[in-house]
């Protein structure tokens, strides 16, 4: 198995090609530009389509078109670009089109800056565009996972005919790590009952209009059931030093990497700190978090690079049995292990 040192952003593109992604439509934006750049270098080598779209809006609509034709298709962007894509994403969800979107989060709101933040959580995890829909959201925290979870995103997108996000921040996108390239995907789902291919048998309709109120309600109920199935079947988490943990930290993406360091240092100092990392943000690990109070722990600290977007979901999952504290850094600042341990000490007296 080939092992290569590469940026998280590149790893997502390798994963896409290995997953059989046939087309990449994107617009450059820091800190996600290497995704478009590496796609422009790699996709043509495989006879696959790379097109630099005129705008983020065009890019997601190109994704809509390719997905409607049954292709595995991807785009990549960052905060402001994702905001622009929201209408198109709503159309993709409304027309049940599988596609993969990589969001390398940067600082906001507005132009913000290009440092790492996690402030797209709400706009990606909660749906973001108009209407009742959810995105499947996978949150890698390493270059290897950028590859692996991008591949999984294609699989889940097809399985549920729904947009799937790979959501991470500038640190994970920009850093290099060793990546073991997996085997390419060889089997693809049959889309012949809905994809438009320009043939007699594929004269289908890709559409999100339901003029009749009852029809639209029925369609929304169908989507609702789909999201319930995703919630039931697809939750992924990583637990580190959780068996005997007295204090639990929760974080995803690069926050979770820092938390791992904090846990290691805490353990060296006899503090029983553990890490609970949601790998899927939708579906959110509601049941797993709801069980945390049963372990008789002293406290839960959610660490995020946003002002309490993740902690809202943690607290909803806890159903009032406990409340998670919050430690956040913003504006491109990444929390350090030392800061987190100081906060743990201050909150829980250890």
């Amino acid at each position: 198995m080939p092992r290569m040192l590469m940026k998280g952003n590149y790893a997502a593109v390798y994963g896409a090609i290995l997953a059989g992604c046939e087309a990449y439509y994107g617009y450059p934006i820091t800190p996600a530009s290497e995704i478009a750049e590496s796609a422009s270098a790699l996709f043509p080598k495989f006879g696959r389509t790379f097109l630099q779209a005129e705008s983020e809006v065009a890019a997601i609509n190109m994704v809509y078109g390719a997905a409607g034709c049954g292709q595995r298709v991807m785009t990549g962007s960052s905060g402001p670009g994702i905001s622009l894509k929201q209408e198109g994403l709503s159309y993709c969800a409304g027309s049940a089109l599988p596609c993969v979107i990589v969001d390398i989060m940067r600082g906001g709101p507005g132009l913000g800056n290009i440092g790492p933040e996690q402030s797209d959580y709400n706009q990606v995890v909660k749906g973001g565009g108009h209407g009742n829909y959810r995105n499947i959201v996978l949150a890698p925290n390493s270059a290897q996972e950028m590859c692996d979870l991008t591949m999984l995103a294609f699989e889940l997108a097809d399985k549920y005919r729904n947009p799937a996000f790979v959501l991470t921040d500038g640190v994970i996108g920009q850093m290099m790590e060793a990546v073991d390239l997996p085997e390419p995907v060889s089997e693809f789902p049959d889309k012949s009952d809905w994809a438009v291919k320009g043939t007699a048998e594929s004269r289908h309709l890709i559409n999100s209009i339901y003029l009749d109120h009852d029809d639209l309600e029925r369609w929304n109920r169908h989507l609702e059931k789909k999201y319930a199935a995703i919630q039931k079947n697809e939750v992924l988490v990583e637990e580190y030093m959780m068996d005997d943990a007295e204090i639990v930290t929760i974080g995803y993406g690069s926050s979770s990497r820092v938390l791992r360091s904090a846990v290691d240092i805490a353990r060296e100092n006899g503090i029983k700190l553990g890490l609970f990392r949601p790998i899927t943000l939708f579906p959110f690990p509601v049941d797993e978090i709801a069980k945390l109070p049963e372990k008789g722990i002293k406290g839960i600290l959610t660490v995020e690079m946003s002002t309490g977007q993740l902690v809202d979901d943690v607290n909803l999952a806890l159903k009032g049995k406990m409340f998670s504290d919050l430690y956040s850094r913003l504006g491109g600042n990444v929390p350090s292990a030392a800061e987190i341990l100081e906060k743990v000490s201050e909150l829980y007296g250890v």
Binding site: N61, P184, G198, D215
Partner: protein, 499 residues
């Protein structure tokens, strides 16, 4: 006025005056679905368009052409937002209904996904020239293989008669109740003229549905655009001046008259460009999906598992390194080479750059971790080693070092001494050694060699053995110089320090 398409006339003997016994059969072209199953309500045999509207005529011209050219099955129609949002009710083709203005973007991807299909982007004036203005221009400029039918009726029909980009000067609409004032609302946009400024389009024409003669010209244009798409000639654009009796508050005949008297003077009819004959065929690649072929292109079989042994006697078990200096000093590549070598030794490694404007401001730095355990944070906030290539870097990063660490600095460019006395100091003329070798650019490999000596993690000859793959594609001279740089950096440390 009852408009009969020409083909129906031709095929209907009763209109030719001969053989009067044969029964006249007027039928829908096969380009249409027989029963409009997608259309809600009971009336599945007629369109939703208003009496006198031009959409029905244009739909029919398209449907007839698709049948006549035997293209119904391989055609994909992109329905916009506007009155023709429901074009998919009628056409017996593949259909995608899309967001407002985005039909050309969607069609671009549909055409690339299905290069042998005939892709039609059907759009109105608000959709195409206002909210989707950029998308149509860019698709035209790329020469996407598609036929665009642009219905210009100078108004937003579906939304209820608001101003369109093509609304005429002085024209009253529900958002220009006093008439379009060009001083505040701008002038009606002449889209054909705009599209004609791009190099790529092969066919650009404006026609009208105002009377039978012009409908015939429209028919010719429709057929040419569809044939161009079939023959992969690229981007064809047909603007059709069309009646909107409901939006204009006129009857059918008045509407036709209104086009003639008011629209045509602003939107002159005619062919703006036709290079269809000499157009080059649009070629699209065939995707490689075979797994063995994919692995071959990625070079899976070229990868060899590393056999390099770790040095169990190394001075450092765990590296948390910051490399810092001016942009152009090879700061990033120093870090990447060390991470690569670490990976070949079987360590967990991470490399994190400073990125963006910081890079362009003259200073650059990166974090490198090399260790046995899984790596947590990739940003090095408490380095046990730094490589400072210029003075600001030394000043910035020596402060955050942990006691007992190793501080390497480039004495060629740094005149000051480090202030820390609880770390091991390595004063190395990194740039000077590189210059002696004949190229300042090899200074990063001098640093790599010195790193190997200080930490004891890497054998310099193992690093040298990796150079051809690290600098793949570079000429031998460059490879040799970098190899020498590693050795010189290594030797400088071992000759001047006890490590």
């Amino acid at each position: 006025m009852f408009l009969l398409p020409r083909r129906s006339l031709r095929r209907s003997p009763s209109f030719t005056g001969c053989n009067m016994e044969k029964k006249t059969v007027l039928r829908k072209p096969k380009g249409f679905i027989d029963v409009y199953k997608h259309k809600p309500g009971a009336e599945k045999d007629r369109t939703h368009y208003c009496p006198g509207c031009g959409h029905g005529i244009l739909h029919k011209l398209i449907a007839e052409a698709l049948e006549d050219f035997d293209l119904v099955e391989k055609t994909i129609i992109i329905s916009p937002v506007g009155c023709s949002v429901f074009a998919y009710y009628y056409f017996h083709t593949g259909n995608l209904q899309v967001a407002h203005g985005r039909a050309p973007a969607v069609a671009s991807a549909v055409s690339r996904a299905n290069p042998d299909s005939v892709v039609i982007s059907y759009q109105g004036d608000g959709d195409l020239a206002a909210i989707g203005g950029n998308n149509i221009n860019q698709a035209a400029n790329r020469g996407e293989n598609m036929a665009v039918f642009f219905v210009n009726n100078a108004i937003y029909g579906m939304t209820g008669g608001q101003m369109a980009p093509t609304t005429l000067e002085g024209q009253k609409t529900t958002t220009t109740p006093y008439g379009r004032n060009v001083k505040t609302d701008g002038y009606p946009i002449q889209v054909c003229e705009l599209i004609n400024t791009f190099t790529a389009p092969v066919y650009v024409t404006r026609t009208s549905l105002q009377d039978m003669a012009n409908i015939r010209k429209t028919r010719t244009a429709v057929r040419k655009a569809i044939m161009n798409a079939k023959e992969k000639k690229g981007f064809s654009f047909v603007e059709v001046l069309s009646m909107c009796p409901s939006g204009w508050k006129k009857d059918s005949l008045q509407s036709q008259q209104w086009i003639k008297e008011n629209m045509v003077p602003r939107f002159p009819l005619g062919v703006f460009r036709d290079v269809s004959e000499e157009a080059e065929t649009v070629e699209r690649p065939v995707p490689v999906m075979d797994t063995e072929e994919v692995k071959k292109i990625f070079g899976y079989s070229d990868f060899k598992a590393s056999t390099i042994q770790k040095n169990t006697e190394a001075n450092f078990k765990k590296i948390s390194l910051r490399v810092s200096g001016f942009g152009g000093q090879g700061i990033m590549s120093t870090g990447i080479v060390l991470a690569n070598v670490g990976m070949e030794y079987g360590y967990n490694v991470s490399w994190l750059p400073s990125y963006g404007p910081e890079m362009r401001g003259g200073t650059a730095n990166c974090s490198v971790k090399i260790q046995e355990d899984t790596i947590g944070a990739s940003e090095v906030t408490e380095p046990n080693m730094i490589i400072a290539m210029n003075q600001p870097s030394l000043e910035k990063f020596e402060k955050i070092m942990v006691p007992g660490g190793a501080l390497m600095y480039n004495s060629t460019l740094i005149d000051i001494e480090p202030t820390r006395n609880d770390v091991d100091i390595y004063k190395i003329p990194i740039t000077g050694i590189a210059d002696e070798l004949g190229d300042t650019r090899v200074q990063s490999m001098v640093g790599v060699g010195a790193f190997a000596a200080i930490t004891g993690l890497f054998d310099p000859e193992e690093i040298v053995s990796l150079i051809p793959s690290l600098f793949a594609g570079k000429p031998d001279k460059v490879l040799n110089m970098n190899e020498e740089a590693v050795r010189k950096g290594y030797d400088y440390v071992t000759e001047n320090y006890s490590v």
